[in-house]
Subunit: 603 residues, 2 copies
């Protein structure tokens, strides 16, 4: 399907926009009027630039407040239209978007609206131009797509059709099933936008919160299926007004946009029962490893040693150490001691039932494929870059061939058995992009997005998991405008956290984050744990949570932070599926309090 | 009146919060539970810390989902309450906020709610504690203040009263007049919050968009007058959930908060007809001067010279030049050529009918008073710092005594006669603070806040003006999360902008910002100007706007940017009162386009 995007959807000058969307693989653009007005190039030069980039200009938009007006106003509006037609001819585009009139002076008279739109279509026809009439959700009298279609049908001119916009349809709660009553050749254009489900003024919702398909709460595949069943053969065009996208990196947003359309094509193929355009999703089963880079490998090694890990191997050709305990595997990249980079998580190994297929799908969804400089004898690993730059390796499940590169000894067996989850951190404006990436590329299920109070701002967090619940990622997002990022962490599953905590508390070094005593006073109020249990938790500095239905229980504790990274040790009892988020504000405050001298990690 | 603030309203650790609010002059705090839980200090230590800072702890909050529950749940809730009472005793506070139950399991039975609250009050009385029951706007069954009051009256216990929260009352559109039916001694606590008038889910509105009194759209003075008429003598306490305040500088937010309460006291005195606690507002009449600091005074001088200004004087003791044309006066501070500071606006002189009174009021509203290192013979000028750091000087109107320090010659007379307006720029999170400052300190009237599309993000802008319309400021706010700031500019009033533009276009140097030709194609569609007028505007690069009612007209143009500053030349015809905002997106795009090599000023 032809893929298009409105220039308003990305940041930059018009030429920057054209270059970025062409590079991301779009076939065409809608030129948003303001982008033209601020451009130093003439319409002819813009047309040439687009042509040289292989981009069509499929729509010029928007033309406002045209129809259902007094005769005097009509003359003025036709004069305005003639000016736009001239600009469109110079741009080389033959379709103009007309939005339903929002002015308080608009007349509530469908016949008048149809008559005036017919007149506009006649004038347009003289220039070889077609008019796509769209109902804005906040139109004065015409605010549903079926109403706009009735007027188009009444006007009955070959150069007049309707434009459907998923936001205007779904934000109003209209049933998109009615689309199938419209002949496909009278749907002149299709604009696609998703949005989070918010209870707010629809105009503000539309102007600030639209996002790419798959990033919000609308069923765009369902809507698109209705449109395609009409025989519509025009472009799928993204028209997104989003405060973040307006200022984010142009190229990055364009790729995010294209990924959303590729994933939507797959979803609609499922709805329609047609062949999928993509390699099928392969959900990873679990974590093969987590890889940290550090200039202070001794400190990190001491911390892992205290947690019961052993250094089981050293990479044959690279300065990388393997640390293991049971099936929990941590790689440590030894950076030069003078490296400016602080300790951070740089890669995750994902156990995949079919690593080659995983990589193929990731590539089809525009994930940057990472070059592997393989030394002789090294196991080949497919790797792509996640949105935050973390490298994702697709590894064989169960049979870690890559481990042979480390000439590793048998790992020790302790209470820690595997990686429970990994928390990645993202800048505030990459929240939607990251969620779409993990959903589409890895086939993970997004959980609800939650807000967490940090002493220096409000963080957002969203968990992603596979269907079996054996692989969990937490995407943490810095508060809006933050200069830094929240910490990254690796959570390790423990089968006897009380024993582990007791052992760690007895060590001479402080390896655990101190938890304020006030937390335990409050815990007593939150849960009726019994005096002995409560005393044990307090003494060991263990945090506690319980499912709302009282079913599963969660015990967890945190290590001190090294660079940007810390470890969490968790024990899930009785099928607890959460992440102990109720305790996160206290943990964040404790982390700030225990690092008063250092700059707060997420200020 | 006693002034208090909830610790959730500002950023930081609990001790940072206590110190900042004490420094800003608050008498007391509400301790928000999460702030206690994350604090490494014991309740006794927090109490000591507050006492040593002269702060009372007037409220502990919130206690949730207590009333109208099953007997089993009640027992559990009473157990929870006993824990909280013990913490409160240790904190030394005797008032607990109980919010109306929001749980889906709450029973819709006022008698049951009253009976259970009475039980809670009895238990509280044993500890010398009082319960303030508050209706949340999203309470399950109790969501209006009069409903909460009916239940309190029904429960009839001396240790049970009601807590009023302006947000919960006004966001629901409740008539605050009903407050006067509540005996003052049964209003145990008053929480004050303003908010912008948004059409959105009330819970999200409350959790993210509350702001300090005078920064939103609610009539807080009217509400407070009703409360005071009951005889209420408790604290005015701010409880603000605001995403910006959560991450802003703690001390700065605390001062902003206190300023809002001082201004509110003045407003309520007006409503009640009692004596004002503040020196009366003195609106400035106009601009005495604008002062720029630059390390390239020659370039700036050349630009001013081209605009028709002459260097009329040199300060007797400082490296400051005076440039004048008519009554438009620009001071140039000559920075060292190696100074790291780019050319920027550093001060504004405001003509005040009573400079001493202006300064006195500014001081009473916590504006930092600037020390004046007066050289012998220099005219004394009162000065305070505005939120963006700009120095505001209060000057005698009409008779600029300070000009004598420059030994200045007679200024030239040209088409430019005075400063029309000055546009200041602020970081995105100081929008509300700046508007409140100019409204309260200078008595200016805030105009509507508008959003403007910049190629790299969405800016906000808000004009402030005096009643006579002779002094206008534009507060421009960078897009959320922007690293830099939008440009500052000085707009100069011209009585024949066509002549000025013709002269400037003829100069060999490019002093004017080039406007894209596409703007003029569109202008022809927007307005029926006639061919000759249109050609003149296009040739001279003049921008054009007209009032919606067709009355006033506005002609304007922009100079190139020097450092962070540029000049605008404007001509208002027929009483045009706006700022040509319709043209701002094109101007911003042109500014980005004309400085492609430099880092974009507001990315």
């Amino acid at each position: 399907m032809r893929k298009s995007i409105a220039t308003v959807s990305v940041s930059g000058s018009l030429t920057e926009k054209l270059e970025a969307v062409a590079r991301a693989g779009f076939d065409a653009v809608e030129i948003f009027e303001n982008d033209l007005l601020g451009c130093p190039l003439s319409p002819e030069q813009i047309r040439e630039r687009a042509e040289s980039l292989g981009l069509g200009i499929d729509l010029y938009q928007p033309f406002r407040d045209f129809e259902a007006v007094s005769p005097g106003r009509l003359a003025d509006n036709l004069r305005r239209a003639e000016h736009k037609f001239r600009v469109m001819k110079r741009l080389g585009t033959d379709m103009m978007l007309v939005c339903s009139n929002v002015s308080p002076g608009a007349v509530d008279d469908d016949a008048l609206a149809a008559e005036q739109l017919r007149l506009l279509a006649e004038r347009a026809a003289d220039h070889g131009i077609r008019i796509a009439y769209e109902a804005l959700a906040w139109g004065r009298h015409v605010d549903t797509y079926l109403h706009a279609w009735r007027i188009v049908r009444m006007a009955d001119h070959p150069n007049l059709g309707t434009c459907l916009d998923s936001f205007h349809i779904l934000s109003r709660g209209s049933d998109p099933g009615g689309i199938e009553a419209i002949p496909g050749d009278k749907i002149f254009f299709l604009q696609l936008a998703d949005a989070p489900l918010l209870a707010m003024d629809v105009l503000q919702w539309s102007r600030h919160y639209r996002c790419f398909p798959g990033q919000g709460g609308f069923d765009l595949a369902g809507l698109l299926a209705h449109v395609l069943r009409t025989g519509y053969a025009g472009p799928l065009s993204l028209e997104i007004f989003n405060d973040s996208f307006r200022q984010a990196d142009t190229g990055r947003t364009a790729v995010d946009a294209m990924r959303s359309l590729i994933a939507l094509e797959e979803s609609v193929a499922q709805v329609l029962g047609t062949g999928s355009p993509l390699p099928r999703p392969v959900q990873p089963d679990g974590f093969a490893f987590a890889e940290l880079a550090t200039r202070d490998h001794k400190r990190l090694g001491r911390l892992l040693g205290a947690l019961g890990f052993a250094r089981t191997g050293q990479h044959e050709t690279k300065p990388v150490e393997l640390w293991e305990q049971g099936l929990a595997r941590i790689l440590i990249d030894r950076l030069h001691p003078e490296s400016p980079t602080d300790t951070s998580l740089v890669a995750i190994g994902l156990e995949s039932p079919d690593p080659a297929l995983s990589a193929e799908r990731a590539k089809a969804l525009l994930s940057p494929v990472l070059p592997r400089h393989r030394a002789p004898g090294e196991a080949p690993l497919e790797a792509v870059a996640a949105p935050d730059g973390t490298e994702l390796f697709f590894c064989d499940a169960g049979r870690p061939a890559w481990r042979e590169d480390f000439d590793a000894v048998t790992p020790p067996v302790g209470h820690i058995g595997r990686i429970d989850h990994v928390a990645l951190s993202h800048p505030w404006d990459q929240f939607d992009e990251a969620a779409l990436f993990y959903r589409s590329v890895l086939g993970l299920r997004p959980h609800e997005s939650v807000e967490v109070a940090d002493p220096y701002g409000l963080l957002r967090s969203r968990a992603m998991s596979n269907a079996a619940g054996t692989l969990r990622l937490a995407l943490n997002i810095a508060h809006v405008g933050a200069r830094g990022l929240p910490g990254q962490h690796i959570a390790l599953a423990d089968d006897d956290i009380v024993a582990t905590a007791r052992r760690l508390r007895a060590l001479p070094d402080d390896v655990l984050l101190p938890i304020p005593d006030n937390y335990y006073d409050d815990l007593r109020a939150r849960f009726d744990l019994g005096e002995e249990r409560h005393r044990e938790l307090r003494e060991l500095g263990l945090m506690y949570d319980r499912d709302d239905d009282g079913g599963g229980e969660f015990l967890h504790l945190y290590t001190v932070t090294v660079g940007r990274v810390f470890f969490e040790i968790v024990q899930r009892v009785g099928g607890y599926r959460g992440f102990g988020m109720a305790n996160t504000p206290v943990r964040l405050a404790a982390q700030h309090a225990s690092a008063p001298a250092a700059p707060a990690p997420d200020r």
